[in-house]
């Protein structure tokens, strides 16, 4: 379990990225932090592995204040997947995946063997192991990034807009893959995105953040849609318009669901 207690982050130039945040991130579930740019969602994520230290307040993992843990040790125990994969361009795929186990002092052979298994886990062909990142497609690079994040079998996996830079088709594929992985592995995943659809698809808990690092609502997707906490949330999730405002009309005796524009979205099962 990850817990934020009264966490505030103010950067030296005066910008407040995160303002007095209290939130509990349940274990073995996916929590998605969603908000537009400048809402402090990445800063919040990066406080978990101490890439950013809070100005005030505490971040606790299983009851331990992370501020008391050596940042390097902490990071080596937490998986991290970032946008543009963040792979080391001068290392082969296999070495990229094995980076952290090697840093932790595992033998090269064991680390490589495990890395090959991880390629299977994330759905990559083992023949890619000897390629360099630049020789892979964007989607493949992102999968390698996930494999690297899983390399030390961490309890916590931090994902910072991991699918932000790939095209929509690949993105949908990767999202499904993540759902499958999560089903299998049951990690505590903290996922940052600015895409509310992605948040609703992946999140067990969705945390909606607004400008200035304030949390507007943290709840399950259904709860947020059913009871948006305020006008900002309602507007942000588009609860009252577009694809979300569905209603039912009768067509030839069958009940068809249509969206706000009157386009058919499906048939109501009876």
């Amino acid at each position: 379990m990850i817990e934020f207690r009264g966490v505030t982050k103010q950067f030296p130039d005066g910008t407040v990225a995160v303002h007095d945040v209290d939130i509990v991130i349940p274990p073995r579930k996916t929590t998605v932090l969603v908000g537009s740019s400048g809402s402090g969602k990445t800063t919040l994520l990066r406080m978990i592995n101490r890439m950013v230290d809070p100005t005030s307040g505490q971040v606790l993992i299983d009851g331990t204040d992370v501020a008391t843990v050596d940042p390097v040790k902490l990071r080596r125990g937490i998986g991290y997947v970032m946008q543009n994969s963040g792979l080391l361009p001068h290392r082969k795929v296999i070495d990229n995946v094995a980076t952290v186990p090697l840093l932790r002092g595992e033998s090269r052979r064991a680390a490589h063997a495990h890395a090959l298994e991880l390629l299977d886990t994330v759905g990559l062909d083992r023949s890619l192991a000897d390629k360099y990142p630049a020789q892979l497609s964007g989607g493949q690079q992102q999968r390698v990034g996930v494999a690297r994040g899983l390399a030390v079998d961490p309890n916590i996996l931090l994902m910072d807009e991991p699918f932000g830079a790939v095209d929509p088709i690949v993105r949908a594929e990767l999202q499904q893959e993540l759902l499958r992985l999560q089903e299998e592995l049951g990690k505590t995943v903290v996922f940052v995105t600015h895409d509310i659809d992605e948040a609703f698809l992946l999140g067990d808990q969705v945390v909606i953040m607004q400008q200035g690092g304030l949390i507007s609502q943290a709840a399950s997707p259904a709860e947020i849609l059913a009871h948006p906490a305020d006008a900002f949330v309602a507007d942000f999730v588009g609860a009252d318009r577009g694809k979300r405002a569905l209603h039912v009309t009768e067509v030839d005796g069958r009940r068809v669901v249509v969206d706000a524009d009157g386009r058919a979205a499906g048939v109501l099962a009876s």
Binding site: D53, P71, L88
Partner: protein, 247 residues
């Protein structure tokens, strides 16, 4: 073309190839002085440049020093130290070190700076210590530019070591100055040809080295992006992240 015949006659004269002040001895001197200077200047400039490029601190002074020192006329520095220190190798060596620092410093900080901040951020997020970030990420990725700096510094040193024969009995430049004094164009030109060959051979070696040190994975990127991107070092955007103080 007569002039070249004189030069070749001088080069071919066996008397110039043996004894004190012979061609092999001057070449050895030239290389020795250049090597010593390169080692001293590198020991000073490379760590400072690496530190500046790694931390992003002290960038302005480093740019000013490397730019400002470039405006120093080499001959002025040589003659000034010549007067201060007098005959011997100390004066040319000190001036050559001063003149070799700007390209080394510039190459080192530009090389370290050129590494994509996101890659460094990822390395840190994975749990690399600062020294590991430097050694395993920044150094290999910045190496081609660092070597580029060493390359231009070396050329500068070889050229200035030639000129340094004006104030000291040292190197291939001696032939040029002796020739000038005795109005022996053959010797002057012969000496010049030797200097040019020496510089080109060494430059060639560096060109090869520079290719070899490009990490294989980066080479893969380059061929893919060659058409769309100039290979000039990227200018750095923003400040690098320091622990717990990330913008």
């Amino acid at each position: 073309m007569n002039l070249f015949l004189d030069a070749f006659a001088w080069l071919a004269d066996p008397a110039n190839w043996t004894g004190p002040g012979s061609i092999p001895q001057r070449i050895a001197e030239h290389l020795w002085v250049s090597g010593v200077v390169l080692v001293i200047a590198s020991a000073i400039a490379l760590p400072i440049g690496a530190l500046v490029g790694h931390s992003g601190r002290g960038r302005e002074p480093a740019v000013m020093i490397s730019g400002g020192l470039r405006a120093l006329p080499t001959l002025g520095v040589l003659t000034l130290f010549g007067i201060w220190i007098g005959i011997g190798l100390a004066a040319p060596v000190i001036s050559l070190v001063i003149l070799a620092i700007p390209p080394l410093l510039a190459g080192a900080y530009a090389g370290f700076e050129s590494v994509d901040r996101r890659t460094i951020d990822a390395a840190r997020a994975m749990g690399m210590r600062e020294l590991q970030v430097v050694g395993k990420v920044e150094l290999p990725l910045g190496m081609p530019i660092v070597v580029g700096g060493i390359r231009s510094a070396t050329l500068q040193i070889i050229a200035t070591a030639t000129l340094a024969a004006y104030i000291a009995d040292e190197g291939l430049g001696r032939f040029i100055f002796t020739g000038l004094k005795t109005r022996d164009y053959g010797e002057m030109l012969g000496g010049s040809i030797l200097v040019i060959l020496l510089a080109l051979v060494i430059d060639g070696c560096f060109a090869l080295t520079q290719r070899v040190v490009v990490p294989a994975g980066v080479r893969a990127t380059r061929t893919a992006e060659l058409r769309s991107r100039p290979t000039r070092p990227r200018t750095v955007v923003g400040r690098p992240n320091t622990e717990g103080n990330q913008e």
